[in-house]
Amino acid sequence: MNQAASLKPSLPDSLSLVALTVAGLLCLPLAYVAHMALSADAAIWSRLWTTRIPELLFNTTALALSVAAGTLVLGVSLAWLVARREFPGRRVWEWALVLPLAMPTYVLAYIYSHLLGAGGPVESAWQILVGPDGRLPSPHSYAGATLVMTLDTFPFVYLLARAAFLNLNVSYEEVARACGVSRAGTLLRITLPLMRPAIVAGLSLVVLYVVSDFGAVSLLRYQTLTYAVYQQITGRYDPTAASILSLLLVVVALVFLVAERWFRQRSRFFQTTGRYRTPGRRQCGPLGATLATVYTTGVFAASFGVPAFMLATWSFSAVSSGALDARFVGFIWNSVSLSGVAATCAVLIGLPLAYLASRRPTRLNLLCLQAAYAGYVLPGPVAALALLAIVSHLAPFWYGTAAVLVIAYVVHFLPAGLQSMEPALQQVTPNLEEASRSLGFGTAATLRRVTLPLVRGGFVAAWVLMFLQSMKELPATLLLRPVGFDTLAVRVWLEASEEYYQLAAPAALLIVIMTIPAILLLLSKDWRAA
């Protein structure tokens, strides 16, 4: 390491400096929010503590836990079905069950508030059954938020559980059978316990997603910490109270993250070793096949099929009544240009961090990389709050420009991108770079001619991922966008809030359609490995 540095002293040093600066800037929002919250007047703390905080904490954790329970049941049972049973259409369902990931929570939430709302199709059907006085529980409730978030996030658990089912060394199960334990007993006592790490990883993704979600809870008017932070900023403009709630939100997210890390550390020995035989699929009988089909079709229809159909019909009538005007094209352009700039900036910023951490893993460089992951526990409204405060203090002339929005996207989504950039760099052995150096190329030429071509795939994936997440981003965009600068996501939310379902549909449909190929693309790598 030191030799490499002394060979080319200037560039690596400047690279380190860049990484250090970037890491510091990425950490700034989190630090600023913490500072604002901790330096707040004790009276504000105690007021919040006696009024809002207990309710918000309870609502947030209750939602997270119920969604976790729901996704656990849905995700694991569906994964088991497609990984261990053979029934007509199994291959199609195996893919289709991933599609709900393409549905942003606010889109699903607005469709369900129409479907289940007063006078909606489900209530009408119910009234045909039980008479005109039949009422259904409102979707604008804990139950409604749970339903929508569960349907939207179960693919996280499904995907990881499916991979675990397929990768499990089947010898464990066969040994259990040889010990005289039935099929069901083996599933409960061997298979599921061995899958615990995968299931927990899936659940922790779900919980982080739920805790930081703004779109669904705001449309369903369910008070969680994220929603409250947004209201504090917009409704009463009380940045101090907002920062206190934000800090709380960050702590909640951190608790879940640390718990997951701790669990993963503890269950390292769960790794299966040695040769393994892939488990076979058992053919379903006619009854089993019917049940399996009904179940998978039902879940798919509820989470993607019906919502996509509604979007398509609404879009059709909206388009035929002239919704696709120049304004709409402007929204598309806003979304695409903003997300494109943000994703490109994020890749450029992430490169030195990931490169240094994998090639010169000194303590400082690794710390810089870790700092970039701070955005993980920075839900959209919190990032927006921090940037609002920082910009109004330090650079008021930037206030209300698109640049602030780009910074928010980068801070928020760089962790997701790094997760794909880092392994791509790790997989390129340093020997290749050393070979290039021995052939007379300098660091920069080596980077350009050897490293970058090899990591292109991972970086393109990172770019696509960050682009799409920026496209879908809602709360920070709502709070930070320049006046009159609407994106597709913002339009969906604004129209849906006013219950103009048809007007919201074309933008929502466009987001979903753009997301699907990318999801399939990103999955196809893991898919084959599993």
Binding site: E174, V175, A178, S182, L194
Partner: protein, 374 residues
């Protein structure tokens, strides 16, 4: 390694007590009749395999990879359905076309190549895994006995990843034996151990199986392992049973060139039947198999049946020597360009190029029809 012995003393001391040709017949525990399994309609894995195992007998399934030995074992375990024939365990029909008694109802024990110890359970819980039907006291005492028997009492609270390979294997064995299985199935149990450890474990396993009078089917591709462990060996090739016999018979009187070649070093010298004897370039051999005149045959000779003596002039010369520690394996070139091998004592060293006379122990040679191979 297996110091303490809570089981009653062994009834018989002779290693080959289960020789099916001698002594009182003991009940047949496992019987395969004309068994065939297939992966697909036109992809037979094994075909027409028949053999049986008596109580306490150790049968080895020996063959190269892909020969169907593991498929046979998995069919006995109930993991592979059968397309023809049947399997009987303790007289009960457990596998036949369209009939498959689930594994858990077969009273079998299984030890996998990679042991498949449940990584989330401690050693004692691994062993107790199949004993759910017992009270916790009974369970604990059985596990304790078993741990003593395999010498792992001190490691009862460990997790599998905290054990060495040999220890893991003993846990896997204990987990299978504590069920008192009708038949114990072992799939290449020594292949994950280094050779020294494997030798020691082989002895221990043999001893343990004898003491517990366990009927065992062991799959291996290593003929030394089969010789050391088995009462009888079934040699499989391309899904078919080539020979089922005692280790001695498999080695000395192989029924096919494949078996001869697979179970040890062998040379095949072509010859012709003339005047009731086999004429070859290294001399005459008796026509034990009674081939007709002018038949084309090959003579199978093992290196330990060829002794070389240096002479002044000879048609045969030493062309190579490999030192194996306990023996020197000489390669001897013949005028036809063919080579034969000779096993000589470790201390007998001749230089390459030495002309030698071949002294062949003709009583141990085996004749095959030339058309059979090798």
């Amino acid at each position: 390694m297996f110091q303490s012995d809570p089981m009653p003393p062994p009834a018989e001391q002779t290693a080959r007590a289960a020789d099916p040709h001698g002594g009182a017949q003991r009940p047949v525990v496992l019987e395969l009749r004309n068994l065939s399994c297939a992966y697909g309609a036109d992809r037979p894995a094994i075909a027409d395999i028949s053999f049986s195992a008596q109580e306490g007998e150790i049968v080895c399934l020996l063959g190269p990879s892909g020969c169907g030995k593991t498929t046979t074992l998995r069919a006995v375990a109930g993991f592979e359905p059968v397309t023809k024939g049947e399997i009987r365990l303790e007289g009960r029909l457990v596998s036949a076309p369209g009939h498959l008694v689930p594994t858990e109802q077969r009273r079998i024990g299984m030890v996998f190549q990679e042991y498949a110890l449940f990584p989330h359970l401690r050693v004692r819980d691994n062993i107790a895994f199949g004993l759910r039907h017992l009270s916790s006291d009974e369970r604990a005492s059985k596990v304790r006995l078993m741990l003593e028997m395999v010498g792992l009492t001190a490691l009862a609270a460990r997790y599998p990843h905290e054990l060495s390979g040999g220890q893991q294997q003993r846990v896997a064995l204990a987990r299978a034996l504590v069920q008192k299985p009708a038949v114990l199935l072992l799939d290449e149990p020594f292949s994950n151990l280094d050779p020294d450890m494997a030798g020691k474990m082989r002895e221990d396993l043999h001893d343990l199986l004898r003491r517990t009078k366990t009927t065992a089917i062991l799959v291996t591709h290593d003929h030394d392992e089969a010789f050391a462990m088995a009462d009888r060996i079934a040699v499989l090739n391309n899904g078919r049973l080539e020979q089922l016999d005692t280790p001695e018979a498999i080695y000395h009187t192989p029924s096919t060139p494949f078996v001869a070649d697979f179970v040890g070093q062998a040379d095949f010298i072509p010859g012709t039947i003339e005047n009731g004897t086999v004429q070859t370039e290294i001399g005459l051999f008796p026509n034990q198999a009674g081939y007709p005149s002018d038949a084309q045959v090959v003579v199978m000779i093992r290196p330990d049946d060829i002794h070389i003596v240096p002479v002044e002039r000879s048609f045969a010369h030493i062309v190579g020597r490999r030192f194996h520690g306990s023996e020197n394996l000489y390669t001897v070139g013949l005028p036809s360009g063919r080579v034969v091998h000779s096993s000589e004592p470790s201390t007998t060293v001749y230089p390459v190029g030495t002309p030698v006379e071949l002294q062949v122990n003709a009583t141990h040679t085996v004749l095959f029809d030339q058309r059979l191979g090798p």
